[in-house]
């Protein structure tokens, strides 16, 4: 009987020769919400991209998704196994229409599970929930989208792909309060649905703001490529009050990495 969960053990990652992740252990259980907080440059996005399979990252350690080792898989097979990343900086792909892309992605991840008419109805419902204008369907993927539009589109993909485990990499940055509420209610609706009830979430953020809308069961703090503290959601409030400096001192961390080295 495999152990359920997204189980990350001793994960290390080098980017362009620099070690960014220095041994991460973290397990996201089905249906649970984990928040990963930390200052800029601590390696949060690197963790997200390592899990997703960024082609230029050298990653060691182990990552199991419901018992399946996914670290040796290409990114598309990780996605089909049930992993999703809401990108901090989603790529723009001119000429590829949002509707075609969403359909291709759904077909790739859950082939033939939904007739086109039903898929279309699902899209319209989720777009309405996320405050996305239906005209988006005919636009080119992320091309000329504002930061907020990109993030809403990431959430739309999360909603229509309904993965087992989702990583949200700073989905809140660049969103105004209304957009943040839309994102929060979209996630709440997904978690209340039969498809999304068991979804495990890893929310990466450096502000606790989004955590008012999606309350975490567990909060981790990452500094300099290591998780230095883990606690309940009250840890997020403590960080809001105190900042990261005290945790950084306690961890004995060196000077923070420059953001460019950690992206």
């Amino acid at each position: 009987m495999p152990e359920h969960g997204l189980r990350i053990a001793n994960l290390r990652c080098r980017v362009a020769g620099n070690e960014i992740l220095k041994g991460i252990d973290l397990t996201v259980e089905p249906g649970r919400v984990h928040a990963l907080m930390g200052p800029n440059g601590s390696g949060k996005s690197t963790l997200a991209l390592s899990l997703t399979g960024h082609p230029q990252y050298e990653v060691t350690g182990s990552v199991e998704l419901d018992g399946e080792d996914i670290l040796s898989l290409p990114p598309d097979k990780r996605a089909r196994a049930g992993l999703f990343l809401s990108f901090q900086y989603p790529a723009a792909i001119p000429g590829v229409k949002v509707a075609n892309f969403l359909h291709a992605a759904r077909q790739a991840e859950k082939p033939g599970d939904m007739p086109p008419a039903k898929f279309r109805a699902l899209l319209l419902e989720k777009m309405d929930q996320l405050g996305i204008d239906p005209s988006f369907m005919g636009r080119y993927l992320n091309d000329g989208f504002s930061g907020g539009e990109r993030k809403r589109l990431e959430m739309l993909q999360l909603a229509v792909l309904a993965p087992k485990y989702a990583i949200m990499d700073e989905t809140d940055s660049g969103l105004d309060i209304d957009a943040l509420k839309d994102v929060g209610s979209c996630i709440a609706a997904l978690r209340a649905s039969s498809e999304g009830r068991d979804m495990g979430l890893l929310i990466i953020t450096h502000y606790p703001r989004i955590l008012q809308y999606v309350v975490p069961d567990v909060v981790h703090v990452m500094i300099d490529g290591r998780i230095v503290e883990t606690g309940g959601h009250e840890l997020a409030h403590r960080i809001e009050r105190e900042g990261y400096d005290r945790l950084r001192e306690e961890a004995g961390a060196s000077t923070p990495l420059t953001p460019s080295a950690a992206v």
Partner: protein, 400 residues
């Protein structure tokens, strides 16, 4: 260039070409005019005098076997509009010579080497005549097809009278070893609007040359769109001569050589009158040993103040053995103009592939979607949804 590849008027093949001219329709073109045009063909240098490192096509050696000329020429026209005149060239030359003469020869298309060849052998083709203020809503479809190992010289003439509007789709096909040298001339009179799209799907081993030129009148519009997807060699020019203010020209070209295909395309916009605009978009990809050359000419005459000329040219190189040369050539003689040129040459972007992979799409499928997307802004400028879908399917086939 080795002397053996240069065809002179003294070779048996050239003699055969002159003899073949004498058998062609004397009303469409007078025999003297044909001979004069063929003389010019032999006298003129091809635009591509030098064969380069990646370019070994010798334009002087590709003239056809004279005996095959017009022996396998298939032509049809579909139009549901009784007001629009769509005639075979010989019928037009006999029944409506005055109307035909308003457009045929009006763009100076015969000035270049292969324009002269097309002019010399102009005998079959189509004349489309749209009367003043008539809007033809359904696209007119012209089909030209060359049988295997034959040569055809399809000549298309479009006259859109004042305020007329028409969309024409040309489908150009050729079997293996065929040779096509065609010309299209469009005259849009004042306030007229013509959209002309070409889908070229010639078979392997065929060679297709197409010269296309338009002359819009005052406040008239012309839209060229060409998709050169077939043939071993596809060469030609898309040209607009702006001689009246208020004219608007839109040129779109896409091509995608693969295997051993060569494409050699020139776009030319001559701004000879001011207060007119042109916008050229070229999207090309190449894979395997596919080769392409594109030359984008924009010329703004010194007196053409207030011109607005744009040229956008993007190249996607899909194999290390593929090669695309892309050369913009802007000559701007006036000072109060807008002129823009943008070009990119690139490969499939790894970050884009990664993003699509993260949504479950495998790398090969992602690459195909991205490459199709690269062409999409050009595909969208073609008229008719069916034609666009057909172009997308052709491109998808070339990507798989």
């Amino acid at each position: 260039m080795p002397p053996s590849s240069t065809l002179s008027a003294a070779t048996p093949q050239a003699t055969g070409l002159y003899e073949r001219l004498a058998a062609l329709d004397p009303v469409v073109r007078a025999p003297d005019a044909r001979r004069e045009a063929l003389d010019r063909f032999f006298r003129l240098k091809s635009r591509r005098e030098k064969t380069g490192r990646f370019w070994r096509i010798d334009f002087d050696s590709i003239v056809p076997d004279p005996r095959s000329i017009d022996q396998g020429f298939r032509l049809s026209v579909e139009t549901g509009d009784p007001v629009v005149r769509a005639l075979d060239l010989p019928a037009a030359a006999r029944e409506h010579p005055a109307a035909l003469a308003r457009a045929m020869g009006a763009t100076g298309i015969a000035a270049g080497k292969f324009g002269a060849l097309a002019d010399a052998f102009a005998a079959r083709g189509v004349f489309i005549h749209v009367p003043a203020d008539h809007a033809c809503d359904e696209p007119i479809v012209i089909r030209y097809h060359a049988d295997a190992a034959t040569a055809i010289f399809p000549y298309t003439v479009v006259l859109a009278e004042r305020g007329a509007r028409v969309t024409i789709v040309e489908r150009l096909g050729a079997e293996t070893q065929a040779f096509v040298c065609g010309a299209t001339e469009i005259v849009t009179e004042d306030h007229a609007d013509v959209s002309y799209a070409v889908l070229q799907q010639a078979k392997e081993g065929s060679r297709v040359i197409a010269l296309r030129a338009a002359r819009p009148g005052r406040d008239a519009r012309i839209a060229w769109a060409s998709a050169d997807l077939g043939g071993e060699l596809a060469a030609g020019e898309l040209r607009v001569n702006i001689t009246q203010p208020g004219a608007e020209a839109r040129l779109t070209a896409l091509f995608f050589p693969r295997a051993s295909q060569h494409v050699d395309l020139v776009s030319t916009v001559e701004h000879e009158a001011g207060e007119a605009s042109s916008e050229t978009m070229v999207k090309s990809a190449a894979r395997e040993r596919g080769q392409a050359r594109f030359l984008g000419n924009i010329r703004i005459a010194p007196h053409a103040q207030g011109s607005d000329a744009r040229l956008r040219d993007d190249v996607l190189v899909l194999s290390p053995t593929a090669h695309v040369d892309s050369v913009p050539a802007l000559e701007i003689g006036a000072n109060d103009v807008k002129a823009y040129h943008g070009a990119t040459v690139g490969t499939i972007d790894e970050e884009q592939v990664f993003y699509m992979q993260s949504r479950g799409i495998d790398a090969a499928a992602a690459g195909r979607m991205i490459a199709l997307g690269f062409f999409e802004p050009a595909v969208e400028r073609f008229p008719s949804a069916r034609l666009r879908d057909e172009i997308r399917a052709e491109l998808a086939g070339k990507l798989s």
